[in-house]
Subunit: 239 residues, 2 copies
DNA sequence: CGTTCCTTTGAACATAGTCAATAAACGTGG
DNA sequence: CCACGTTTATTGACTATGTTCAAAGGAACG
């Protein structure tokens, strides 16, 4: 298969693709990212590679695969706080001796690489990191509204739209189709529901002609109607 | 009344007090904070002084009063995302042309001042800002878990403990008493409940001997039991 | 092929929401 | 300091949304 309109090798590396979309990067900065993207580490599904309360070792980026930040209560209740998708950064902070405030768990095989520390000449990279952090906060805020004020139907719809928006940044959306490797139980833990209720909600979306979901792929069947349902506009964190 | 063990004038200014608790500040840095604390701006209750989607003007700090970050849906549903308490910063970010991802609303009369931009010699201040940001994220994550996985009783208990912890940083807690200027409707909007249900939940906490709440003051009557209820440990974001 | 994990379904139940009305607290002007 | 109007807190009866428990199909995988 020949991929058309692939502007450069750059766009095939999710981190380069995503960070380039967030700020304009110079050739040197892109080279540094590519160099870092060579030093990969691969984590198997279910591996917890950051632990709440433990020191954060090093800023890194996700090259491929899905992970999530979770908080588990003593009685076993679990909340998925956010997802880490290809192109996302983690452990980036300007503080000394940082401590993780949530654990991070691989959900699929996850490939990571170091996130280069921006030097004096890497203004674009620093800007991209800052915008990435702002986006991260934006999605945390959306997650709060979702859990606090949307019902199950709206939560699933809103969350699907968000996944589509974020995966698009890494170039993983084709039309209205994107990979969805999560079990319904995980979706439930992210949306503050039970897996049984997520199942019923997904079926409602299906029979309303809004969603197709099978074989690890989600297809949004009526984006305008989904959009109206959850009044979602694309995230905007810089002018 | 004579206040004992008041180490310096510094501790009477909430921002200085809080940031000093987050990182060790030099005399110059404290002076810069005091200088900034002279340039106040006062906002009346209900005034929206940051608007979602609008550019962020300038990093500032809260000297006194309470505010909240909110998101309002078209149909009137409202979610309070977080609270701004004395000593808190807002609009601090390293990005160029930042845009607010939530509105900020004064809940009481709020006095703010500029947050000085750390210079080359202000390592302590930069560290304090970084730790403040990390704490801010920590509390957003707790809010997500609260909304996603705690029931009403636990939500209120957990939230009260968090308010106590945060207000303590600004020196506003006496024993287990602290100011609580919010209406039950606002608490409801923060906890993803209705005001009616918040009312009933507060009464349950009262009759269980856990909480006293009247005249704008909250008193936690049995902190150990509250702590056990929500398995809360103090926030820790640096080693 | 069998095992395991995941999805789907049903019935009973629980938590929280809605609507409506009353009581109490608060702020303001006289 | 008091009367009045407004906001906030409280209560009850009913409803709705989501949970729990249990079991049966399917799909993925060694």
């Amino acid at each position: 298969m020949i991929t058309l309109a692939e502007p450069a090798h750059a766009t095939r590396v999710s981190v380069v693709r995503r960070l380039s979309a967030l700020a304009s990067l110079g050739a040197t900065e892109i080279d540094r990212l590519h160099a870092a993207a060579g030093m990969t580490r691969t984590l198997p599904p279910r591996r917890e590679f950051v632990t709440e309360g433990e020191p954060i070792r090093e800023p890194r980026a996700v090259l491929s695969g899905w992970a999530c930040r979770t908080h588990v209560l003593r009685d076993g209740r679990r909340q998925v706080l956010s997802f880490l998708l290809p192109g996302d950064l983690f452990g980036v902070c300007s503080q000394s001796n940082p401590v993780a405030s949530a654990s991070v768990l691989a959900l699929t095989p996850v490939v990571t690489c170091p996130a280069p520390t921006p030097g004096p000449g890497d203004g674009g990279l620093a800007e991209a990191y800052a915008v990435s952090a702002a986006l991260g906060e934006h999605y945390l805020l959306r997650q709060i509204t979702r859990l606090g004020r949307l019902n199950a139907y709206e939560r699933v719809a809103d969350w699907l739209m968000e996944m589509r928006e974020r995966l698009a940044l890494a170039g993983l959306v084709e039309g209205d189709r994107f990979p969805m490797p999560l079990t319904q139980e995980l979706i439930a833990d992210a949306l503050g529901l039970t897996s049984v209720h997520v199942n019923r909600t997904i079926q409602a979306l299906r029979s309303d002609g809004l969603l197709e979901l099978r074989g690890g792929t989600a297809t949004l069947r009526d984006v305008p109607r989904l959009q109206a349902l959850v009044e979602r506009r694309p995230a905007r964190v810089h002018a």
